[in-house]
């Protein structure tokens, strides 16, 4: 409340008009024509210092820059967006910081779209800001189905994945491949409970049975009793819905208990960066659904090579997803001839997309982007031929089957 006092009065007079001018802007700043502020500004809001730093983090900016370069190369002199800028902020996975930074990006840095935003609570906060400011938000890394459910709005897109898709992908496909009896271990909080429900539905719909649902405390570091309990009914598959540090603890103890040979392990939510940080050995043989894999085919690999040349690492799905989201946003600006939100939304809605990230992609009416996803099995150590060569794609799940239908909770 108190600021440095002598300067206050002078500074107030100087900044007053500035602040007022900037605060007035809420709606689209340009009416019919061309670009607001004569440029397109892409906002990247993600975790640049915490647990999701490797998943998207600072390298997502490089992926977005690649999209800008490709867009400029493609359209050259005909490009509608001649000047394209990226602004970034580190939300540290805190929803309040994400909320303030999103407002600042839209209001003061003139961002036309915000990209990425891991952590569900932060993404939901940004979605409500997008709605209030009437600017676009394309989420890549947060997995909550609420973004296209009860919290859906006209300005928010979910580009890559959600928890229901993970359940459907892994649950259904593993059952089809013979893993009919399941025990599900889940952390007892909203994310875990949602995943448990989605997986149970997917498994039973596919003709399998869930023998046991075992809640665990969260966070937790000793899973021994839960593993013993899960194994007591001799299921073919044990599903684990924990994420992050808890997942790593669980998998370690699962292996120590010698469970690898007794039951197949299916993981609800896992990223390639988790495999990389814990070592491929720990996860060998586990199944999970991946929205994108860098070594799927020659096309992905070529893009991954370009990415590696700039970052010295292989891309995660989040990097490719950010590239794709930025590229398609710019394509939509090109098609609309302006960066005015309503026109860009019109150009994006219903669009069918095939690019390095989306295969058989389509922007659905609820702004859920559906596309082919992949059931992956983690390779064992002797199958790994090069760095980041961790996944064996067992099956491609077609776009139409991968995602849940439009939620009745979504009213735009």
């Amino acid at each position: 409340m108190r600021s440095k006092k002598p300067a206050a009065a002078v500074a107030a007079a100087v900044c007053g008009s500035l602040a007022l001018a900037a605060c007035g802007g809420g709606g689209p700043s340009s009416g019919g024509g061309k670009l607001s502020n004569d440029k397109v500004v892409l906002g990247l809001l993600n975790d640049q210092s915490g647990v999701y730093k490797d998943l998207s983090g600072p390298n997502a900016k490089i992926a977005i820059q690649m999209a800008i370069d490709d867009y400029k190369a493609k359209y050259g002199a005909k490009a509608v967006a001649k000047t394209i800028e990226i602004v970034t902020a580190d939300h540290q996975n805190k929803p309040d910081i994400a909320n303030t930074k999103a407002q600042e990006m839209y209001d003061r840095q003139n961002a036309d779209v915000i990209l990425d935003v891991p952590t569900s609570s932060a993404a939901l906060a940004v979605a409500s800001q997008a709605k209030a400011k009437k600017k676009l938000f394309i989420d890549v890394t947060a997995g909550t189905t609420k973004l296209t459910g009860s919290a859906c709005n006209k300005y928010t897109y979910a580009w890559a994945y959600d928890t229901a898709m993970l359940a459907k992908g892994t649950g259904t496909t593993v059952v089809k491949k013979g893993g009919k009896s399941w025990s599900i271990v889940y952390p007892d909080y909203a994310f875990g409970q949602d995943m448990q429900k989605s997986f149970t539905k997917a498994v039973t719909d596919a003709g399998g049975t869930v023998q046991q649902n075992i809640p665990t405390p969260f966070p937790n570091d000793n899973f021994a009793t839960f593993i013993t309990k899960a194994a007591s009914t001799n299921p073919k598959v044990i599903g684990i819905m924990a994420a992050g540090g808890d997942l790593i603890n669980f998998v370690k103890q699962y292996n120590q208990a010698g469970m690898q040979s007794k039951a197949q392990l299916a993981v609800g939510l896992m990223f390639i960066t988790d495999i990389h940080s814990l070592g491929v050995d720990q996860f060998a043989g586990t199944s999970f659904t991946d929205p994108w894999y860098w070594n799927l085919d020659a096309k992905n690999r070529a893009w991954a090579d370009k990415f590696q040349a700039k970052t010295n690492t292989r891309p995660s799905f989040a990097h490719a997803g950010n590239y794709s989201a930025a590229m398609n946003y710019l394509e939509a600006v090109q098609a609309a001839g302006t960066d005015a939100s309503e026109a860009v939304i019109k150009a994006l809605d219903g669009k069918k997309i095939n690019d390095i990230f989306l295969r058989n992609g389509e922007v659905r009416s609820d702004h859920r982007v559906i596309h082919d996803v992949y059931l992956a099995k983690v390779k064992s150590k002797n199958q790994v031929k090069e760095p980041w060569d961790y996944e064996q794609i067992v099956e491609t799940i077609p776009a139409a089957d991968a995602f849940e239908p439009v939620s009745p909770d979504c009213h735009m």
């Binding site: 409340m1 805190k94 909550t144 609420k146 909203a190």
Partner: protein
């Protein structure tokens, strides 16, 4: 003036130094004559008011609102830590539970936000009664641990009742309804001026508490609980009352924060929030009242700037600053500043008289 933190650690020994009792609540005005001391207090209050009113002109309004909310939150902690000698490490419980209750009232009943915040504040005070009753029997580190334990309990309760609280997704889309005034409901600049009144009311309440006879008793309890008890004061009752009042102020701040952001998340109840507010209070200077706002301005602005700077280690910077302040300026930023002021004024009076 001895350091309040030190006092909490050896309250049991009840050091019987003559200057310990009856020491001034306001460090900066200790040596002034009563008339001038009073005038200075009012000037401080006026300066604080002006600063609060020009703040959104100087910084981005949502950030200004954060500073104001954290300032009041820090003051509520200072009331306990600086003026009563109780280090609460669980104040997130009151800030966070008020944020949730405020949000629930605003969402489900659509009441104007000041009413919703009032509801949140009353809820915070209500849960502070049993928590305070059980924790004030301990002092020092034990008090800190007991309050932390209660705060963690509330954190897990909020996490479990995800149907009501949204679990780790948080309670989203809290409306800013304000009697249909659209500029306040949609523009953060005007919202600031609509909400700052509540914060100022809270600061004024803290100021009144500190400068009342009740506040004097608190300082006496802080400096020498045995003597306060010997003088006939019911020490535990005083502590419970100030604990509940402090929780109310924290709840008021938390409610404003929730409305300003439009959501309440588990982060608000997390122990890191309790830690952050203690950091802000110590950074600004404990037992100074104005230290909280100064600390809040520094920490919130720094977090905001660092988030956009591209620097990948916000925590390292904040931690280093904290270490430097604690090592070099033991009275915090505001405490050190007023110490200096007091010394120069005392020097000038010696020459003048």
């Amino acid at each position: 003036m001895t350091h309040p933190l030190k006092d909490t650690s050896d309250t049991s020994e009840a050091s019987d130094t003559p200057e310990a009792s009856g020491s001034e609540a306001d460090i900066g005005t200790a040596l002034l004559r009563p008339g001038r001391r009073n005038a200075l207090r009012w000037i401080m209050l006026a300066v604080g008011l002006v600063a609060a009113l020009v703040l959104p002109e100087l910084v981005y309004p949502p950030v200004a609102m954060d500073i104001a909310a954290w300032a009041l939150f820090a003051i509520s902690v200072d009331l306990l830590l600086g003026y009563t000698g109780l280090l609460s490490f669980g104040h997130a419980a009151f800030w966070g539970s008020s944020a949730y209750v405020t949000g629930l009232i605003a969402i489900h009943w659509g009441l104007p936000f000041p009413v919703a915040i009032l509801g949140g504040m009353l809820f915070a005070m209500a849960i502070a009664v049993p928590i305070g009753y059980l924790s004030v029997r301990r002092t020092g580190i034990y008090f800190a641990m007991v309050t932390l334990a209660f705060a963690q309990m509330i954190y897990f309760i909020a996490n479990q009742f995800s149907g009501l609280t949204g679990g780790e997704n948080g309670l989203q889309s809290i409306p800013k309804s304000f009697f249909g005034v659209e500029s306040v409901e949609t523009d953060s600049f005007y919202f600031y001026y609509a909400a700052i009144g509540l914060i100022l009311l809270g600061v004024w309440a803290a100021w009144r508490i500190i400068h009342s006879p009740f506040g004097r008793v608190l300082v006496a309890i802080r400096d020498n609980p045995a003597r306060a008890r010997a003088l006939g004061y019911d020490v535990d009752r005083y502590k419970i009352i100030v604990f509940v009042l402090s929780a109310g102020l924290a709840g008021l701040a938390g409610g404003v924060f929730a409305i300003s952001h439009g959501f309440a998340s588990l982060e608000e109840l997390n122990w890191t929030t309790s830690g952050k507010v203690v950091l802000i209070t110590v950074l600004g200077g404990i037992g100074t009242l104005w230290g909280g706002p100064v600390g809040a301005a520094i920490v919130v602005m720094l977090e905001d700037r660092l988030a956009s700077s591209g620097f990948e280690g916000t925590g390292i910077i904040l931690g280093s600053i904290f270490v430097v302040i604690v090592l070099l300026f033991r009275h915090g930023i505001w405490g050190t500043a007023t110490d200096l002021l007091q010394r120069t004024m005392a020097g000038r009076r010696d020459q003048g008289d």
